[in-house]
């Protein structure tokens, strides 16, 4: 479980995160949603340690991440996997080498064991046989799946997905969503997904955090989201008349 306690963060005097407290649960797909500039990416970067919080604490299974220096954070970081918005695959490495990368750096596996692990991961994301291709030779969906394969190579306890569906067509987006959900349940990982995609949120979101103007405005699940009277959340999730009509039908 990841717990965020009273976290605040600002840049040049502008408060971006204001006293946020929430928790993300293992074996669940936890979403952070919010409008552009609401602070959800900053919150995620603070959680993974790419940014330092100004105030507050972040706990990974009762281990206080905020007080650790970069060397002590290493152990926790090796339990993290992350899928980036742009996949962030190493462009000079093949698919196989990308997935091998964390294994070579941190595992004590032999070369053949590592290759077996790579093939297991590739099979898991339906990319068998793509070992020798470079990221530039892959479609957007394949790049995302390679990113997932790399993220799960070390059996992560914590999985972070930053806008996993951005730039993908709706059908491919569903494939990625399902993959994230299956992997979360399979590894019992604490998965945090940052997304604008309400289709994903309503499809696979087990636990949803809505950030509005740097504050945690609402928490709940996808059933509760239909019945909330939080105006900012309703405007975000059901912005058009069409979506509002759908909500009324679902409520009914």
């Amino acid at each position: 479980m990841i717990e965020v306690k009273s976290v605040s963060k600002g840049f040049a005097g502008n408060a971006v995160l204001k006293n946020i407290s929430t928790a993300f649960y293992p074996g669940k797909v936890n979403f952070i949603i919010g409008r552009s500039g609401s602070g959800k990416s900053v919150l995620t970067k603070c959680i993974v340690g790419l940014m330092e919080v100004d105030q507050g604490e972040i706990f990974f299974d009762n281990r206080n991440f905020t007080i650790l220096d970069r060397w002590d954070r290493k152990d926790i970081r090796q339990e993290m996997g992350m899928l980036f918005q742009g996949s962030a695959l190493f462009s000079s490495l093949t698919v196989e080498e990308n997935i091998l990368f964390p294994l070579q750096m941190f595992s004590s596996f032999s070369k053949s064991e590592m290759l077996d692990r790579v093939n297991v991961c590739l099979k898991r994301v339906n990319l068998e046989g793509k070992n020798r291709l470079y990221p530039s030779e892959l479609s957007g969906g394949m790049q995302k799946r390679t990113g997932i394969a790399r993220a799960i190579a070390m059996n992560p306890r914590y999985l972070f997905c930053d806008e996993p569906n951005s730039g993908l067509d709706p059908q491919t987006a569903i494939v990625i969503d399902n993959l994230i959900r299956e992997i979360t349940y399979e590894f019992n990982s604490t998965t945090i997904v940052i997304s604008h995609d309400m289709n994903s949120v309503l499809e696979i979101g087990d636990h949803i955090n809505f950030i509005y103007q740097g504050e945690l405005s609402w928490r709940g699940n996808k059933t509760e989201i239909l019945h909330t009277d939080n105006e900012a959340l309703n405007n975000f999730v059901f912005p058009s008349k069409f979506m509002q009509q759908i909500r009324e039908k679902l409520r009914g």
């Binding site: 993974v48 340690g49 790419l50 970069r70 954070r73 290493k74 152990d75 970081r77 090796q78 993290m80 992350m82 980036f84 918005q85 742009g86 962030a88 695959l89 190493f90 462009s91 990368f101 964390p102 070579q104 750096m105 941190f106 070390m154 972070f160």
Partner: protein, 247 residues
């Protein structure tokens, strides 16, 4: 002025991160070999070409400017040696390499930054500064002195060839000039300078690449800054080292 201190501090903090214990030495060794190829071997052609023409031009210039019968012809060999060994092979070659190698390092690391590849490494628990920068610095420190020795050899050889074919100096005179008042220290001085220049090129370029934020335009800007700052620092270091070692 505070901005200068800010960047100096940030640069030294980056170097502290860079020179921390590597995660797996074997992987770093492989990376260093790759960087030696990229930084050194792939620049051999330009270094050889440049050295050849510079050595030839220095010889011809010296010959053209000796218009007094009192100045012996072996001065041509002497001047070519002094120019090539003391300044050209180390300073000019490193200035050229700061453009080629420095720009390449800054744009490579800068692109990795803007495409979140460095963030991906950090989240995996890898010291990205060490992984990306240390092999480049070690490779540059190792290979650039060899390239400077090559530049010395090619420059002087080209000078001798052109001097002979143009008929401005005999082989005996050129050779006498080459040997005249020669101290091995002059080569050592040039190689010591090269080590400092190699560190400047690789680390300053890596610094500008590592702290690139934005998009492709910023990568281009970082690359330009890397080249300009490297060149300016090389010139300053050249002055300081010369003052310290020769006077």
């Amino acid at each position: 002025m505070s901005s200068v201190y800010y960047h100096i501090g940030k640069y030294f903090l980056l170097m502290v991160s860079t020179f921390t214990k590597p995660e797996k030495r074997r992987i770093y060794f492989d990376l260093i070999v790759q960087e030696i190829d990229k930084i050194g071997l792939q620049s051999l052609g330009i270094v050889a070409l440049l050295s050849m023409f510079m050595g030839a031009v220095v010889t011809l210039q010296t010959a053209a400017n000796i218009d007094s019968g009192w100045i012996p012809r072996w001065t041509i060999g002497f001047t070519t040696r002094q120019t090539v060994v003391l300044e050209f092979s180390s300073t000019i070659v490193c200035l050229i390499l700061s453009g080629k190698v420095g720009g390449n390092i800054a744009s490579e690391i800068g692109t990795m930054r803007i495409t979140e590849q460095i963030d991906a490494m950090e989240i995996m628990g890898i010291n990205s500064a060490s992984y990306l920068i240390l092999p480049k610095i070690v490779a540059a420190l190792f290979i650039l002195p060899f390239m400077v020795v090559l530049a010395m050899f090619v420059g002087i050889s080209a000078g001798a060839f052109v001097g002979l074919t143009a008929g401005v100096v005999s082989l005996n005179d050129f050779e006498y000039g080459l040997r005249y008042s020669f101290h091995y220290w002059q080569v050592s001085y040039s190689l010591i300078k090269t080590v400092f220049f190699a560190f400047i090129i690789s680390s300053v370029s890596a610094y500008h690449g590592y702290y690139t934020f934005g998009g492709p335009r910023e990568v281009g800007a970082s690359s330009t800054r890397a080249v300009v700052y490297s060149m300016v620092l090389i010139l300053i270091a050249n002055y300081v080292i010369t003052q310290l070692l020769l006077l």
